[in-house]
């Protein structure tokens, strides 16, 4: 007996798949399943987070609906995955945020943006908010750098603590305590698998989306999104170092490292999320966890908006629009940070942990 109905269904499917095994070459889920004969809640949550939703095992399965065995691994694991994140949420009281994530994020984002605009206006007089500010330190006329750093530092710290607590719960659930952390080869393997999206390729031909024709579009757009995000994050880090180490103040000229990184990342974060959204739109409904569609869309939209407001700020920073745009951008980024632990963002982290565990299991099987 399992904790939830979806885990019951996942168990049923894994029992079917374990007596079939045709998909064992498609991704990591099936080999991981083959290492077991019965499946605990934790095992099923581990498989669910190992699945990259490439859809191949649905299109390749002779038992997918309308067949009476009704085998739909991608969708079942997608629902189980989302339910597992809610179960791991910290603090527990926020687990419900996953269920109505789209609405929650919109509200939080709107409130954050409003708070920044209002805050800027309250901190300064109206002239400052709509004034033209140029040269180093221009941004800080609206909000002192220390205040900005403290606010975002706190938001990020909160997100980190919540994420770590969630991962800890996942770790315990899948029965793999600190062991994996001290296993560098497994970590390295998982790093390679995650950064290449090795299992989002349907075993080599690409991902299945709107029909049985596989393509690499989801993978490419995911890469643009992920690496775009990473570049933007790097830009922020470099800027912070500039500020504290060499007292170089934002805004920076276009050729300076933070701007170059941020621009490249920003472009990735515009094209990637737009592409992912388009693919999501077209996706065969049979593969989609409709209930959680809002969560996916909200996260993608937040990434897109982060980039859009950031790019607009870059382009218009020498005009009167700078103040409102900065408020908008900071509002979006702030809400992105604090909602991270309660939405689609966590998929990457849990998937990475699952990949580490898989790498470790493989190594243990091979006797190394």
């Amino acid at each position: 007996m399992h904790g939830t109905k979806i885990l019951e269904e996942a168990d049923r499917l894994m029992t079917v798949c374990n007596s079939c095994r045709y998909c064992e070459g498609l991704c990591a889920v099936f080999p991981a399943m083959e290492m077991r004969r019965s499946f605990s809640d934790g095992d099923l949550n581990y498989f669910a987070n190992l699945c990259h939703a490439c859809g191949a095992c649905y299109t390749d399965c002779q038992f997918s609906p309308p067949h009476e065995f009704n085998v739909n691994v991608p969708k079942t694991l997608a629902v189980a995955r989302a339910e597992s994140w809610a179960a791991y949420a910290w603090p527990r009281a926020f687990a419900g945020l996953f269920a109505r994530n789209g609405l929650a994020i919109s509200l939080i984002a709107a409130l954050s943006v409003a708070a920044f605009i209002f805050g800027f206006a309250a901190l300064n007089d109206r002239q400052v908010l709509f004034g033209i500010h140029t040269g180093p330190g221009a941004f800080y006329k609206l909000m002192p750098h220390n205040a900005m750093a403290a606010l975002f530092g706190a938001a990020l710290l909160y997100a980190l603590v919540a994420l770590v607590m969630g991962v800890r719960a996942f770790w315990r659930d899948i029965g793999e305590p600190i062991g994996m952390l001290v296993d560098p080869p497994s970590l390295w393997q998982a790093m390679k698998d995650a950064t290449q999206l090795r299992y989002l390729d349907g075993g080599g031909v690409g991902c299945v989306n709107e029909d049985e024709r596989p393509s690499d579009l989801r993978k490419i757009h995911h890469h643009l999104t992920f690496y775009g995000f990473a570049l933007c994050f790097a830009a922020t880090c470099v800027a912070t170092l500039y500020h504290y180490l060499i007292a170089r103040e934002a805004p920076y000229p276009w050729w300076d490292l933070p701007v170059v990184l941020g621009t490249l990342g920003g472009i990735g974060l515009l094209i990637g999320p737009a592409g992912l959204l388009a693919e999501k739109w077209k996706r065969d409904p049979a593969l989609v966890d409709q209930k959680r569609m809002g969560m996916d869309v909200a996260f993608i939209a937040m990434l897109f908006l982060t980039s859009l407001t950031g790019m607009a700020l870059l382009l218009l920073r020498d005009t009167a629009a700078m103040g409102p745009l900065l408020a908008l951008h900071l509002g979006v980024v702030f809400s992105l940070f604090i909602t991270m632990p309660y939405g689609k963002f966590v998929h990457g982290i849990y998937r990475f942990v699952a990949l580490v565990r898989y790498a470790r299991e493989r190594r243990m099987m091979a006797g190394v």
Partner: protein, 465 residues
């Protein structure tokens, strides 16, 4: 929309491996091709949907195959399973061509799975489709579409117009109506008749009612029957087929691979009277697992039970349906309405006859019974560790061997021995040419791919002349 008023160079009936290989090959040889698949799109590809691997000869190990498998060895294996009931010239031709097929199907978009050392001991002789048979079919369909082959689903062929060995046209179902299509050549690749219980009854009697059909419900043998009725020469014994023992709880049709049981060699098999009826340790699975379908079909009510105990519970592939469990043999008997006293006696006699040995299920080991009829010649170990388990099994028909006779060009031969003017056959519908009886894993795909490719090529050439 496909224009059905035009005359095609080549009409392919069927939608499985044989049909698609023929269609692609004919198209690549320059012919215009129409494929008529009787099933709806989801069920396209007949029994091919359920397959996993293909047996091909090859001279050296590759990244998917662990060692060489020579033409001679393939031929010897085929002779062994068919006990010589095969057309040697045709079979050797197929084996030679199979070498080339390994690479040819890859060119058609099919992908092989790197050898995982996995679940079956076939890593040397058989190549496994990455993602299984349906993945392979999806790839073939994409390639066929890309090449411009016309494909219709829900397009069951209802009648063939054949005049003295010459195919003229076919009538197909289109919605509620019927349409006639003309083509210069015909490739029949519509499978066997295993899903036609009435037809099976002609040879098996009422027993056929208890058969379960492992694959597609759409292989009703209608095309085969039309061809045989219109002068094509018949090949094969109608009672010969590939049949394994599958779980009695499986659906009537289309249960596929996951209803099979590999546990026979780990226990004993009794019939509904609680009695053993065959040597469960005769030979290594999978070589011998294909005989159990026929064995169970010969038992009263076509039912049998694989009985084993806790000591081997996890020794074989996990199963879809869990085994029935009980704490004593008598209780187990009760769960299947078997005579408890008889089953207890059967198990006790078996246990008493078991001689000590060293168990190894990968070889013909020395664990055997003495003074028992029928004996268990290998892997015999006492059934004495509760809980006890049993799987109920019935005959699971995979595919039939009765078919149309063909020559090396995959051209059908007529009753008078003359080659048909423009008719070719590939796959299950002509498997009986090669498989008089018995089966070697993966040969169904070999027959379909090799003769499908030949049939398509020959049909295209025929259409041009």
């Amino acid at each position: 929309m496909v224009d059905l008023s035009r005359k095609f160079d080549c009409l392919v009936i069927g939608g499985g491996n044989a049909a698609l290989c023929a269609a692609i090959s004919a198209r690549r040889s320059g012919a215009s091709v129409l494929v008529l698949e009787g099933a709806p799109k989801f069920y396209r590809g007949g029994n091919t949907r359920h397959t996993r691997n293909m047996r091909c000869a090859h001279d050296a190990a590759t990244d998917i195959l662990t060692g060489p498998y020579t033409e001679q060895e393939f031929w010897e294996d085929l002779q062994l399973v068919t006990e010589g009931q095969t057309d040697e010239e045709l079979a050797r031709h197929m084996i030679r061509e199979s070498k080339d097929i390994l690479g040819w199907v890859v060119e058609q978009g099919v992908r092989w799975q790197p050898s995982l050392g996995g679940t079956l001991s076939l890593g040397r002789t058989n190549s496994f489709f990455l993602g299984g048979g349906r993945a392979m079919l999806n790839a073939l369909y994409l390639t066929a579409e890309r090449l411009g082959v016309d494909i219709l689903y829900d397009a069951e062929v209802l009648d063939l117009d054949i005049d003295n060995g010459m195919f003229l046209s076919a009538d197909l179902k289109q919605g509620d109506g019927r349409v006639t299509v003309r083509a210069a050549t015909l490739v029949a690749a519509a499978g066997g008749f295993e899903a036609n219980i009435e037809w099976l009854k002609q040879y098996w009697g009422e027993a056929a009612d208890n058969f379960l059909i492992r694959g597609t419900p759409y292989n009703r043998g209608s095309i085969l029957k039309m061809l045989l009725n219109k002068g094509v020469q018949q090949v094969g014994d109608p009672t010969q087929c590939h049949a394994v023992a599958i779980d009695a709880r499986a659906p009537k049709f289309d249960g596929g691979i996951i209803t099979r049981h590999d546990s026979v060699v780990f226990g004993i098999v009794v019939n509904k009277h609680g009695l053993r009826f065959y040597d469960e340790g005769e030979d290594i699975w999978p070589k011998r697992y294909a005989i159990w379908g026929r064995l169970v079909a010969a038992q009263p009510d076509q039912i049998a039970y694989i009985v084993f105990d806790a000591s081997v519970r996890n020794s074989f592939m996990p199963t879809l349906f869990p085994p029935i469990e009980a704490n004593s043999i008598a209780e187990l008997a009760g769960k299947f309405e078997l005579d408890a006293a008889v089953l207890e006696k059967t198990v006790a006699e078996f246990n008493a006859a078991v001689r000590p040995g060293t168990f190894d299920h990968t070889i013909l080991d020395d664990c055997r019974t003495e003074g028992l009829t029928p004996p268990k010649t290998h892997w015999a170990r006492k059934i004495e560790t509760p809980p006890y388990y049993a799987y109920p099994v019935r005959p699971g028909i995979t595919f039939t061997y009765l078919g149309t006779r063909v020559n090396k060009q995959a051209r059908m031969l007529m009753k008078d021995g003359k080659p048909a003017a423009n008719m070719f056959a590939a796959g299950e519908i002509m498997a009986g040419n090669v498989l008089g009886k018995g089966y070697a894993a993966g040969i169904g795909m070999t027959i379909g791919s090799v003769f499908g490719r030949i049939a398509g090529r020959e049909a295209a050439q025929n259409a041009r002349n």
